[in-house]
Amino acid sequence: MAEVKLEKISKVYEDGFKAVDQVDFIVQDKEFVVLVGPSGCGKSTTLRMIAGLEDISEGKLYIGDTLVNDFPPQQRDIAMVFQNYALYPHMTVRQNMAFGLKLRRMPKDEINARVMNAARIIGLDDLMNKKPGTLSGGQRQRVALGRAIVRNPKVFLFDEPLSNLDAKLRVNMRLEIAKLHKELEATIIYVTHDQTEAMTMADRIIIMKDGLIQQIDSPIIMYNNPVNKFVAGFIGSPQMNFLDGKIEGSDFIGENNVLKIHLPSKYQKQLADYAGKNIIMGIRPKDIKHVIEGEIDIGSYVAFNTSFNGVEPMGNETFLYFSMGDNEWVARVNPDSVIVEKDTVYLNSHKLHFFDQKTEISL
């Protein structure tokens, strides 16, 4: 195992498109880092550069202490798991797993031992002589995992390994990969566009947009202290609600006066420079309540009368959709409350986020 260091790495494709722009980060030894971002933000490109499948246009890549920019994939001592499994269709499960070891001229006994061991870890014992074509999606991805495990590489690379699986299986595999990470003490770089995967598995999350890194932090820090509106909107599900507005005196006034919140003193200080200026306010769905009787900090809630555009009971929670000016907002409330069409929701004025309207940076 080893750390991976990217120094100002960029990728410009043949057609001149800059997919990755001066990306700079270190993945510690044994760390589980998740690279997350919307489609097309350059996650796969970054991962493929680390794997050696894509040339690095600019910058330096170290695995361990070695500069590996010019190393082909097989010399980088990495293993990769792909979204659509990429198993060799003409080989059995066993052969798929052993192939990379054979090419490295490992003795037969050791190959066997490693394959058996990996098969046991991921529960493939019964399938060893089957061809990938006869396996289910979940089983195939397990084989792909096994193929990576037997290699015992310095770094594991995952490119959206779960996105072809159905929801239930995805949760299972998520737990399993997390367990595997502990068991193998592996260094893992994991790409996904699913913020849930990022939140649940990562030691640290790296969030990208348009080829640029936006923030690198642990999931909790990223959730509570997003650096900008993009991160705030991307992390957390359902996503954060936003409203353009102004600071006037000690109040936040929403666009067209749809909402007025008297700000707690911590925000008043923080926003002193923004008096009279345009600003974006954000609040997470969980910080909007439908019933506040019994809350300790009942005084910090601001009432808002609305009518709901949609009600989604999820069983353990209910999503309420309503309009806030031109924006569609969502509240995540207790499923036991009785909901009528015209009703009041309560915004927790201590749980607000503010962003500069131009730069969208957190204030």
Partner: protein, 254 residues
Amino acid sequence: MFIYPFVWMLSASLAPESELATLTVIPSEITFENYQVLLDKIPIGRALLNSVIVASSVTLGVLVFGSMIGYALSRLEFRGRDTIFYIILFTMTLPFHITLIPNYILMVKFGWVDTYAALIIPYMINAFAIIMFRQYFKSIPQDLIDAAKIDGCGELRIIFQILWPNSIPALVTIGIITFMASWNEVLWPLIVIRDEQLMTMPQLVTLFAVGGRAESQLGVKLASAVLLALPILVAYMFFQKYFIQSMASSGLKE
């Protein structure tokens, strides 16, 4: 309807010369006399061997080089890749006859006239096969190739150990077409081979049938035609079975 000429040819070749004019399908007696005459007059066995050697070598060459070039054109990134592809595409549109004379002159310069090299080497690279392989390889997921690279495959290993086993329909199709075309080729051997011992079967048979040595004995000519068609038929029946099997079992799906 399609097989009548063939059946007639077969039965007539087995019939005594005197019965040929009647176009009947069932001869009064079966005789191998025509074949005997044939074997005595020309080295048809040797020609069969030559044809097998030539057609097999050509087919192997076309498959090997075609897949290598097709792979490069579909997966490797280098300057001028598309230009090269279009040039190859263009050469396909050139009629064979245009290159006939220049090719012959090349053979003379290389000193390959009256050698196997003249029959095999010019045919080992084939634009049609390159394009077929390029298209086929494009349909194979890039991830599969990437996984192979990470496992430690070089480009050649990727072609022959990863792509080939997953391209059996393409290999069989291109193989059959190439083999047939090479087997049936007459004009080129006529130009570059004069030594009877090196002649391919179609060449020898053609020379024999139209060149006067059959002494207008129709039965003998027909016998030579049967011998000419037989190997292709056998090969076809063998490959067809294999072809259908491979289509059914390739299982290369996402």
